[in-house]
């Protein structure tokens, strides 16, 4: 039984170079575009020879045909992975990953040399990457695991169906070829060549691309991403016109990975500078490679767009390599025209694909030998398969009743690997209705925005903008931009801005409410969208916190904020207060708590006083104080360690995490003798924060100033204000952290909060920039 199954399986082998296609074999061509050379051989199933020797025969034959290829790792293309008898499987596995000794040493030598040459060419980055990758490659186990996981994720039935289709297709083709050629070795040679060609294609031309369906398949599920991308598109089309057109397009298509070389290099270098991480190196070297390719690419853009097989990066390579690729390429494209919806909500996938990418680069570099020429361009050709030409978008949009692929979007895919990012983002220009976060629409200070067009309309307008791009008819379109843009990015507003602000409270002059320009948007996108979880993106010195991809990810859409973001922001508030208030003003500037309160107690509201000397605790303060039970000793030294004392403060702010699902802020107004409980959802104080903090304040004063002082303050009798009228109300499901942070920000500046739910999206983006910069605006 087992033997038979094995035999059946073994009829067809995948000889795959170490690359993404190896881990994620045939089922997911869309998600992981094939970039490697994959050779599939079929032995006639006379199969008298034992399994092992047939296998080795094939392997050595393959080796002799393809002397320039690196040591092949071999995947069996099987429809019954799970059912494999472990014994045979394990007996094969070592052989699969390590070629038999016959060729391997010469292989290794040759291709180590080739790699070294290549590494010299490509530069140290690629070399490092390669080192990193080859280590990972050596583990066949890991590959198998990924393989399995992928399969599980895709769902067994789907995978099986896909495999079946592919298998039958392949087999038919093989059979036909078998019949044609008699001489077996010859046949092998030719077929080998064939498959090299076949699999080297990895992009699909737009014309073959089933636009509507695919768009929905690929669209990111995150509304924020949509908006972000759309705005980036919009801004960049405003700002940068024709000269770098296709480059812009690429940068839009994949903002997080391939910023525009000329204008957008900033954040890519930021990324690269701030981390010595592997992934970063990868990213930047990806850029680098792209830049290197740039001239050739742009030259090729001049080719006829109508050619369905046209694909700049790829054809740039193929032109040089050979011509006979073309027909075969198209054939297999047709085959792959059905995309697979991928359900994946984990950045792990990104990580995975980063590894894949690095593998590809590695394999490409290793792959290099003088005559064959696949090195980095292999990687390049795996890049966005989608519209390489803005014209394509236009085609979509100027059709009046073309419906953007909105409707189908329910069933669909989530963000996934990095490679897909590009596709997602490009597709997002077609427009899509995001989910969740109702009520974010509109803006209260730009009246006409009350009728904010639906997402679809916005998308259409953006596309029209694209059109205008081509017609170089900009003026009237700019107005449209004004409509689309939500916040103060209207050009007229910018012009007014040259005047010094007369009233600071005016939102027009507050950078918090200023819409982001294209560059900033791109930066935000690159920091928040599909960044590897553990990738360190910024270090907030004040808080000693390294902000990683997962932290910044929380600032997207209406996602939840984690403690790292909260504490980073809090530390910036503290730093600002220290610089602008505590260190600047003499104590003389401030009344004694007592006297001021005695004089004015109830009449003077918090916001009419001087800017308070403020300390904002980090989010762990309350957790430490109250997590198990009330434990003053646990936080006894927190104030003194921060160099503060109650005596010298006017306001203490305590951000509190409620049961790991909500953020609220408690303010202790030491001058007004008042406790503020600020919950953006206007919830009640369910965690007894106020009583606990009252007790803490008493203990703190008692510990530092003596029990007499503590008693004299009569903390118990202080007013408690819950959810005062000026508190903005949260209307989405995940922005309480933002509300909390900005309430702290406003209270520290003694400003009445003038933001509301409509500003949250902008505030989120601004927060990314503030944190990245490590400074809050005053």
């Amino acid at each position: 039984m087992a033997r038979k199954r094995v035999r059946r399986d073994i009829d067809c082998y995948d000889f795959a170079l170490p690359s993404s296609s190896q881990q994620v074999p045939s089922q997911t061509p869309r998600r992981f575009p094939k970039t490697s050379v994959r050779v599939r051989l079929q032995l006639p199933s006379q199969s008298a020879a034992p399994v092992q020797s047939r296998f080795q025969l094939m392997q050595s034959t393959l080796a002799s045909w393809l002397p320039s290829l690196p040591q092949p790792n071999i995947n069996r293309n099987q429809s019954a992975t799970h059912a494999q008898p472990t014994s045979t499987n394990s007996s094969l596995t070592p052989a699969l990953n390590r070629t038999p000794a016959v060729n391997s040493s010469s292989f290794t030598r040759r291709h180590t040399a080739a790699f070294q040459r290549r590494a010299r060419d490509v530069g140290p980055m690629a070399a490092r990457m390669n080192g990193n990758c080859s280590r990972k490659l050596s583990s066949g186990q890991r590959i198998a695991m990924i393989h399995q996981a992928e399969k599980k994720r895709l769902g067994a039935s789907h995978a099986a169906r896909k495999i079946n289709i592919e298998l039958t297709q392949q087999r038919e083709r093989h059979k036909a070829e078998l019949q044609q050629s008699k001489a077996r070795s010859k046949m092998f040679g030719r077929r080998c060549q064939t498959y090299v060609d076949l699999t080297q294609e990895c992009n699909e031309p737009l014309d073959n691309y089933p636009k509507k369906e695919d768009a929905t398949e690929l669209v990111s599920e995150d509304e924020e991403d949509e908006d972000l991308q759309r705005e980036i598109l919009q801004r960049s089309s405003e700002a940068k016109r024709n000269p770098h057109k296709e480059a812009i397009f690429q940068s839009r298509a994949k903002p997080s990975q391939k910023p525009l070389p000329s204008q957008h290099t900033t954040h890519s270098t930021v990324l690269a500078k701030e981390n010595e991480n592997d992934q970063v190196i990868l990213l930047s070297s990806d850029d680098e490679s792209r830049l290197k390719r740039k001239p050739r690419h742009s030259k090729l853009v001049g080719l006829p767009v109508s050619d369905p097989a046209f694909n700049p990066p790829q054809s740039s390579k193929q032109e040089e390599s050979s011509q006979e690729h073309e027909p075969i390429k198209r054939k297999s494209k047709r085959k792959r025209s059905r995309p697979i919806p991928i359900e994946d909500d984990d950045i792990d996938a990104v990580l995975e694909s980063v590894e894949n990418t690095s593998r590809e680069i590695a394999s490409a570099t290793r792959n290099h030998s003088e005559d064959v020429k696949p090195p980095l361009s292999l990687k390049l050709s795996s890049l966005p398969a989608l519209p390489e030409h803005p014209d394509d978008i236009i085609v979509l949009s100027d059709n009046e009743d073309h419906k953007p692929p909105v409707q189908v979007s329910k069933e669909v895919p989530r963000k996934s690997g990095m490679k897909r990012v590009s596709e997602i983002t490009v597709q997002s220009f077609y427009g899509k209705q995001g989910r969740g976060t109702g009520g974010v629409v509109g803006s209260h200070h730009i009246p006409e925005l009350k009728n904010k067009p639906s997402d679809r309309v916005v998308a259409k307008e953006v596309v029209e903008l694209e059109l205008s791009d081509d017609e170089s008819d900009l003026e009237p379109k700019r107005n449209q931009t004004g409509h689309i843009t939500i916040y103060d990015s209207d050009p007229s507003v910018t012009n007014i801005k040259t005047e010094p602000p007369s009233d600071i409270d005016d939102r027009d002059f507050d950078i918090r409410f200023k819409g982001l320009n294209g560059e900033e948007l791109t930066l935000v996108a690159s920091l928040t969208s599909n960044v590897p979880k553990q990738l360190v993106l910024a270090k907030v010195e004040e808080a000693n916190i390294e902000l990683k991809g997962e932290d910044f990810g929380g600032l997207r859409g209406s996602r939840w904020l984690n403690d790292e973001i909260m504490n980073s922001f809090v530390s910036l508030v503290n730093a600002r207060n220290r610089d602008e208030v505590r260190n600047k003003m003499n104590d003389v500037d401030y009344f004694d708590h007592e006297s001021e309160v005695d004089l004015n107690s109830s009449r003077r509201s918090f916001f009419s006083r001087k800017r308070p000397r403020t300390h904002v605790f980090n989010t762990f303060f309350f957790a430490r104080l109250s997590q198990n039970q009330y434990d003053y000793q646990g936080v006894r030294r927190w104030m003194s360690r921060a160099g503060l004392s109650i005596k010298e403060l006017d306001l203490i702010l305590v951000p509190i995490n409620l049961k790991n699902f909500h953020w609220v802020l408690v303010g202790i107004d030491l001058r007004g003798k008042e406790f503020l409980y600020l919950d953006s959802t206007f919830g009640d104080d369910t965690s007894d924060a106020i009583p606990i903090l009252k007790k803490w304040l008493y203990d703190e004063v008692k510990d530092k100033q003596g029990v007499d002082e503590a008693d004299r303050m009569q903390i118990d009798s202080w007013r408690v204000t819950k959810n005062p009228g000026y508190l903005p109300r949260q209307r989405d499901g995940g922005s309480c952290g933002i509300f909390t942070l900005y309430m702290a920000d406003y209270l520290e500046r003694a400003r009445l909060p003038n933001f509301d739910q409509n500003d949250i999206r902008n505030l989120r983006r601004r927060t990314v920039l503030f944190l990245q910069e490590g400074k809050l605006p005053s």
């Binding site: 904020l561 997590q627 360690r641």
Partner: protein, 98 residues
């Protein structure tokens, strides 16, 4: 779990330093469990944090280590943070809220 190995769970195996060079530092988790470490004053606290994560069976970086409310850097040493004998480091878990 807390009192399982309160004493010297991670003694330094390197060259014997004088007693003055070493201090005992407690690491306290959210539930109040404490683990005590003996560490050289000049040893980077990365070692302590990693050892604690290892002991708790979690990935490195699963905890946010705070000393008197200040986030501890990996490069910090007991000396640089002015830690005293039996000072307590808080191992806090991440928080999330929306």
């Amino acid at each position: 779990m807390s009192e399982k190995a309160p004493e010297d769970s991670k003694p330094q195996v390197d060259a014997k330093p004088e007693p003055g060079d070493q201090i005992n530092i407690k690491v306290r988790d959210a539930e109040g469990n404490e683990v005590q470490f003996k560490i050289k004053k000049t040893t980077q606290l990365k070692k302590l944090m990693d050892a604690y994560c290892l002991r708790m069976g979690t990935a490195k970086g699963a905890y946010r280590f705070l000393f008197d409310g200040h986030r501890i850097n990996e490069e910090d040493t007991p000396e640089s943070l002015d830690m005293q004998e039996l000072d307590c480091v808080d191992a806090m878990v991440s928080q999330l809220g929306g």
